[in-house]
Symmetry: C2
Subunit: 198 residues, 2 copies
DNA sequence: CCCGATAAATTGACAGCGTCAATATTGACT
DNA sequence: AGTCAATATTGACGCTGTCAATTTATCGGG
């Protein structure tokens, strides 16, 4: 029971759903308070009761997305029993796959003009993703002869940078004809090989 | 002669200057047509005579920035007679240094919701930067045992990704205490070492 | 059972934004 | 001098986020 069918139901969740729906269907620029309100069937000022402003709504939505990525990583690493030294690369693949599958969501979560990356809940989710799967604990980190922190930052930067630039038209099949589906995994492999001297 | 002191002088250039000034001082979000007009001392609708809309103005500004980076790269590579196999890394350093020195400009040029990256002039500048300094010509590319295209994309992605994520608060000195001034060069060196087996 | 308290939603307003149409002004050219 | 086109101004429009005032619905206690 708790909160069912008050005036609307739980509008808070409905607003969040509408937000993500609009992001997927169009882009985050289509997420106006008024559009979200209409999509949800309430008046243009109703959302203020649940989210102080647009930024707070979008920050909540970003948190949902980061949690999705986190869960996706959990599944990948838990299911197939990935060896320790492969964890960082597996995480990189997950990040890349998520971005390819949900480009609008991925682009959106990094829009710091729209999302408050200092938000406590969001910060916690992001830190979990980063420290749990990239940094790991010192002991279980694979021995490579390279500083593991630096490797983690490198991998994360490489994946994000590639995805971000690609979405903006760099590395497009303008002259080289190589599609993104092939190129990033190759980059990850190259790095892996270089690190492990294979 | 040509165009001096018509009504304003050459408003077109003045608008561009005001745009970059606002980007540096505040952020690209502060670049409203009206603010730029006021900064330049003309009425709010004057800019339309020189730039169709806000997007066109910002695209022109982005072109200026890309050209700055291009020139900065030119100077770096020409002056110190950088050996061929170091060119890619030198370019990476330039990109990084520019981003550190002009963070607002760097963040702005990748805002594809505001800048038209399909614009012909801009595309040409970007391609020059990319193909001239990253891809180079096949013959003069250093022999590394790795596909040079892939290396170039990797390097570019890594630098951009690191800068972008850092600006958004990842890799902040939250727990590790490492500043960006030290970390990216270390990453570049690590990659260089891995590639050249040193 | 009803009635206040309170949470939730509506309505209406406001300023700021980009942009367009109508108008006025200026400089260049014949 | 007088015409014309380029350039700038003014005023308006619809859209945005947000706030204040108001209305509506639900809950808890008499």
């Amino acid at each position: 029971m708790s909160k069912k069918k008050f005036h609307h139901g739980n509008l808070k969740q409905a607003l969040l759903d509408a937000t993500l729906k609009l992001i997927d269907a169009k882009a985050v620029s289509a997420v106006t308070i008024r559009a979200v309100a209409e999509e949800t069937g309430v008046s243009h000022a109703a959302p203020v009761n649940h989210y102080r402003d647009r930024r707070e709504l979008l920050t909540a939505a970003a948190n949902v997305v980061f949690n999705e990525i986190l869960e996706m990583t959990d599944r990948r690493l838990a299911a197939s029993d990935v060896p320790v030294r492969e964890r960082l690369f597996a995480t990189a693949h997950v990040l890349y796959e998520y971005a390819m599958k949900h480009p609008n969501r991925y682009a959106f979560i990094w829009r710091s003009d729209l999302v408050d990356h200092e938000n406590e809940a969001l910060l916690k989710t992001m830190d979990t993703l980063y420290y749990k799967y990239c940094i790991q604990d010192e002991a279980s980190a694979p021995k490579t002869g390279f500083d593991h922190d630096t490797l983690a930052v490198m991998m994360w930067s490489m994946v994000h940078g590639y995805v971000d630039l690609r979405m903006k038209g760099m590395f497009e099949e303008r002259k080289d004809g190589v599609t993104g589906q092939e190129r990033l995994p190759a980059m990850i492999d190259l790095l892996k090989g270089a690190i492990f001297n294979e």
